[in-house]
């Protein structure tokens, strides 16, 4: 059963097309990597899939719901890691997670669990601004799975992550449908069963990891 079906998604910034008739179907439990060079439209596609922005045209169905109409409902089931970590620099790591727990109506008891998952228990009381970029990224990943989402949308999750951080990705993606964008082909082939290559907003190719690498 499909977790996500995108039908001819297009988006323009002014007269410039960022996405051009992109079709994408992701089955439940699938891990799909979106590959492409800078400006290929990866972030735009992921923002649309995460319901953070509306496409100029096309249809999007997520978990059987019309994603353009049921955005708020779907956001409770989607975990989204944006390009920027989006943390409050003056709040500690634990406070950042607690704040988003409150916004999601999730139990604050999830905070220590998530900090442990991200390997950040020791820096829980450090302000986000005092954390390294890699730690901030791990904190943002922990926040994305705070509410135990069914679908994960990750925009360059490997940015600034060390080997331990990459293992965190494996853990959070386990048993979750995931669409991630990356420049790193090796990471894409390691984490995902399928890859989609974007170029100038169009799908250049899609298939199993072996075929795309070839």
């Amino acid at each position: 059963m499909s977790a996500l079906v995108a039908d001819r998604l297009s988006h323009w910034f002014g007269s410039e097309p960022a996405l051009d008739s992109v079709d994408l179907a992701v089955d439940r439990g699938d891990h799909v990597a979106i590959l492409g060079e800078n400006g290929a439209g990866k972030t735009t596609l992921l923002r649309i899939l995460a319901t953070a922005m509306r496409p100029s045209s096309g249809k999007l169905e997520i978990m059987g719901l019309d994603a353009l109409r049921e955005r708020r409902r779907l956001r409770g089931r989607i975990g989204y890691l944006a390009h920027a970590p989006g943390l409050y620099p003056a709040l500690t790591a634990a406070e950042n997670l607690a704040f988003f727990c409150d916004l999601r109506g999730a139990d604050r008891e999830r905070v220590p669990e998530m900090l442990d998952l991200a390997g950040l228990s020791e820096v829980a009381r450090k302000r986000a601004s005092e954390l390294s970029r890699g730690m901030q990224q791990r904190l943002a990943i922990a926040r994305a799975v705070l509410h135990d989402p069914l679908l994960l949308i990750l925009d360059e999750p490997d940015a600034s992550l060390d080997a331990e951080g990459s293992e965190l990705l494996v853990r959070v993606m386990k048993d979750r449908t995931t669409v991630l964008a990356t420049h790193d082909q090796a990471l894409a082939t390691r984490l995902c069963q399928r890859t989609v290559v974007l170029r100038k907003g169009r799908v250049l190719g899609a298939g199993s990891r072996l075929r795309v690498v070839q």
């Binding site: 995460a50 319901t51 953070a52 509306r54 955005r71 708020r72 409902r73 779907l74 956001r75 409770g76 989607i78 989204y80 944006a82 390009h83 920027a84 970590p85 989006g86 943390l87 409050y88 620099p89 003056a90 709040l91 406070e95 988003f100 916004l103 999601r104 302000r127 926040r143 509410h147």
Partner: protein
Amino acid sequence: MSEWRTRELVPALAQFVVLALVIANFGFQIDSRNASAIAPGVLWLALVFAGLIAFGRAFAAEREQATLEAMLMTGAPASAIFAGKALAAGLLLVVCEAVGLLFGVDVSAGLVGAVLLATIGMAALGCLFAAMVAQLRARELLLPLLTLPLWIPFIVAGGQAVQSAMGGSGAFDQAVKLLLDFDILFVVLTSLAARFVLDD
């Protein structure tokens, strides 16, 4: 909480209000005879410009840190996020008002009530426009251009109420009722518009 930790805005705003009042005091030669006529205008001018700074920062910081999108992605209603931001920015303005009112003005319940009533509507409008212009490069210029015309009713009615509370002429009750009407109108309108401004 962020503002409490960093103390970026409150001391600067309070200082701004005090300086504006001191300069106005020297400029207008305010004394006990003319205080009730001039002081309300001076107070409102100081609060209006302090408000523009406070509301401008309210959403600019969220956009810069990309935390606004993170908040919206939680599924929390945009109107609730907007209300929270407006409340926080309104509280900052209340601190400025407290500084301004304690600065050589005879504080009465009527005076405080009138200023607080005006703050509610001004905060709602100021935050809406701050959210609209937050992503633009010319936001510092656009925010006053959009906000000030719609703040005029609050300044007129608030000025009248404050003047009356300070012993000057004018109908206090009528001005307060007008402020209340404006508050209801703009709080409802901005709450409805918040979804389109923040999330679309």
